[in-house]
Amino acid sequence: MNQLWQDYRSPGFFDEVFDDSGQPRPAANALVRYLGEFSTQEIDSRRMAADLSIKSMGITFTVYSDAGMIDRAWPFDVLPRTIGRREWDRVREGLQQRVTALNLFIADLYGKQQIIKDGVFPREVLAQSVNFRPECVGVRPPGDIWAHICGSDLVRDGAGDFYVLEDNLRVPSGVSYMVENRLVSKRVFPELFAQSDILPVDDYASELLDSLNALSPRQDVTPNVALLTPGVFNSAFFEHVWLAGQMGAELVQGSDLYVDSDDCVYSRTIFGPQRVDVIYRRVDDAFIDPEVFRADSVLGTPGLMRAWRAGNVAIANAPGAGVADDKVVYAFVPQIIRYYLDQDAKLPNVPSWLCMEDTQRDHVLANLDSLVVKPANESGGYGMLIGPRATPGERDQFAQLIRRNPRNYIAQPTLALSTAPTLIENTARPRHVDLRPFIVSRPHNDAFVTMGGLTRVALREGSLVVNSSQGGGSKDTWIVEDDLGGNEG
């Protein structure tokens, strides 16, 4: 082997590519063998080719900082992460089960609230949920689907088992990078794609469009689907444009739409008003309709909720779906699955302590130095405490926060996140990764799951923070057809 893999070891962690004895895992065989023949210069030139592709393709994300908005090139590591097809199929079933149950749960919360009456889910958790929208009670969206698009974050522990870390049910992003990463790695390693069975990822937009079309209140005409974006300053704006383009949907801002006296939504076009049937919104609930939610919002469209409640427009994800995007609700998901589906969860949760429960809170407060504490409703890695890395002062501060508002916090053990070889100065070094697959829900308990997902990698040595807004990178994720034994051609 050449310098790339030389001395590669990831002691104490499950590595995605190499097993404990230093041998490539079956799904990574072709990759390791192939790159093993590369000279250092060759590796470097492929890396530069990838950087150049990303720059010239204009793949960017926007970061908020003191200096204003910065449009940054998407951070991409050329070494792909591999997973065998059979293992992935099991994960996929677990995800389907999970979002099916979550959709039933949300529909129940805005309907009869049977799960509360049956004593499985505590009423006080719902009462304090910041993402529960009383304005949505009694609404029946098409097919009773609320969370049409879900991005669940998966991690592996030291033994290599997948766990769900969180479910993003509001406006999850990253799927465009998943597809673009594949495009870049095809440009950079075309030979590898000719040699191994890497399953394609680029049908996501078609699947999504089909699902959105099916929501249209006017089934007799070709539906007008619009993607509602907060605008160019949003960190995921690249993805909004990308998705609109891939689906052939109109990319709109709140001010491009209005709701007329007939309670229908129209867009302002050069041809005059055009009715909009389905809105894939990438704007948070709180901002979509200043008549109902935040009155100071300039990102939304007045009357949108009126049109939605009247059934004249479909909105994905449905307003209020975020109620299940809550770290406290997360802790209840295994019970939720059992309650609605009468099944055990196929994908386990990371063990979690609820600070709202007295005994669990005492445990958390006594073990802050070994736990990760997360606020219930933040995303992007903001506002959390990584106990082992925090200073005593930071831990004291968090202890106070928890005591003041216990409902808002959960704690989890610090996980030994799996690693994957990542190119650092022309050699492979272990870096921690997670995985965000995307699930599109449809009526009748049907759900499409992406082939793999977006692998995010913490580029700093030892770091567990994978968010791109905080120095994380990404990798192409290969679901590789398992070798069925023998060489059948």
């Binding site: 720059k55 010239s56 393709m57 204009g58 160019v232 704006f237 444009v241 990308w242 609109a244 383009g245 891939q246 109109e250 990319l251 709109v252 801002q253 001010s255 491009d256 867009s267 302002r268 076009t269 050069i270 041809f271 005059g272």
Partner: protein
């Protein structure tokens, strides 16, 4: 097509064409100087006048040197019509509408924007400069080809083309304007033999020299070039051709009304003039008149389609 995106595409077209025309102008001028007698005093300010930015230039630059003018026209981000600014604005406008054009168009504009941000600094030496300008023109031509061959003739195409056509008509009048006035001060001076060379350079800056030769078939003269570049019906950079093209695109858009009328008005101004007798001061006035008409078209489109 959303009104907001229609506006984005229209301005993408205008800015892209502005970047290309400016690059053409700079390149042709630089090449022209090579043909001039060595002691010729060349007035670089003329290029600043073409883009109508005299005041902005005077405020920010202490001298009229070649280096100052080049910096101002190519790289100065404080000058809204510099090539770097025009490309940044083209990119910014297209950023919101990139799903409406072929992906390659976005990639090329993005790449060109990055290129000029890097290389726009190395333009003081003429050799490097002409390479940079050629890349800008070449890229813009590539983009035009992608648009022509890869874009359905829909409202997005109409808006983009409308912006391109209007800007091109405008830049053509500006290039004629400065060349016709006083590049070389005195017609009776020793520089008279160079008049022809200058007019050839005007043609070349618009890639019009060959077509002029083929279709006009008399020696290159001032009035001949003026007539060709303003009123030729077949050459794609002539003002008349650009107006025709804009008119065609407009006729496919909903209820163009006053926009079409404003194009007709500009055509009349062009048709009524006796172009072969226009010279010097009177030519300048005439070109101003055309520019006012073009501005009227722009405003009519703005009022009709972009109010939202």
């Amino acid at each position: 097509m959303l009104s907001r995106l229609a506006q984005n595409l229209f301005w993408t077209g205008r800015y892209l064409e502005r970047a290309e025309s400016t690059a053409r102008l700079i390149n042709a001028t630089t090449l022209l100087l090579l043909d001039m007698p060595r002691q010729t005093e060349f007035d670089w300010r003329a290029l600043v006048e073409i883009v109508g930015a005299d005041d902005a230039f005077a405020q920010r630059y202490p001298d009229d040197s070649e280096a100052s003018v080049m910096r101002f026209l190519v790289a100065d981000r404080m000058h809204p019509s510099s090539i770097a600014s025009a490309l940044a604005m083209a990119r910014e406008n297209l950023r919101s509408a990139r799903d409406l054009v072929p992906r390659e168009v976005w990639e090329e504009i993005n790449g060109l924007h990055l290129f000029i941000a890097d290389e726009g600094q190395h333009i003081e030496r003429r050799l490097a400069r002409s390479r940079v300008m050629e890349r800008v023109v070449h890229s813009a031509r590539q983009i035009a080809g992608m648009i022509e061959s890869g874009m359905s003739r829909d409202a997005a195409y109409d808006m983009l083309t409308l912006g391109l056509s209007l800007e091109r008509a405008d830049m053509t009048t500006r290039i004629i304007d400065v060349r016709s006035s006083d590049l070389l001060v005195d017609e009776n001076s020793d520089l008279r033999p160079y008049q022809t060379v200058q007019w050839i350079s005007v043609l070349k800056s618009l890639s019009a020299f060959q077509m002029y030769r083929r279709h006009v078939r008399v020696r290159v003269t001032g009035p001949g070039v003026v007539r060709f570049l303003l009123a030729d019906t077949a050459f794609p950079r002539s003002v008349r051709f650009c107006l025709q093209r804009a008119s065609q695109r407009l006729s496919r858009l909903p209820a163009p009304g006053r926009c079409s009328a404003s194009i007709d008005a500009a055509m009349h101004v062009l048709g009524d003039a006796d172009l072969s007798t226009l010279k010097g001061h009177r030519l300048s006035e005439f070109l101003d008149r055309i520019q006012i008409e073009l501005n009227g078209i722009n405003n009519a489109i703005q009022d009709r389609y972009f109010q939202h």
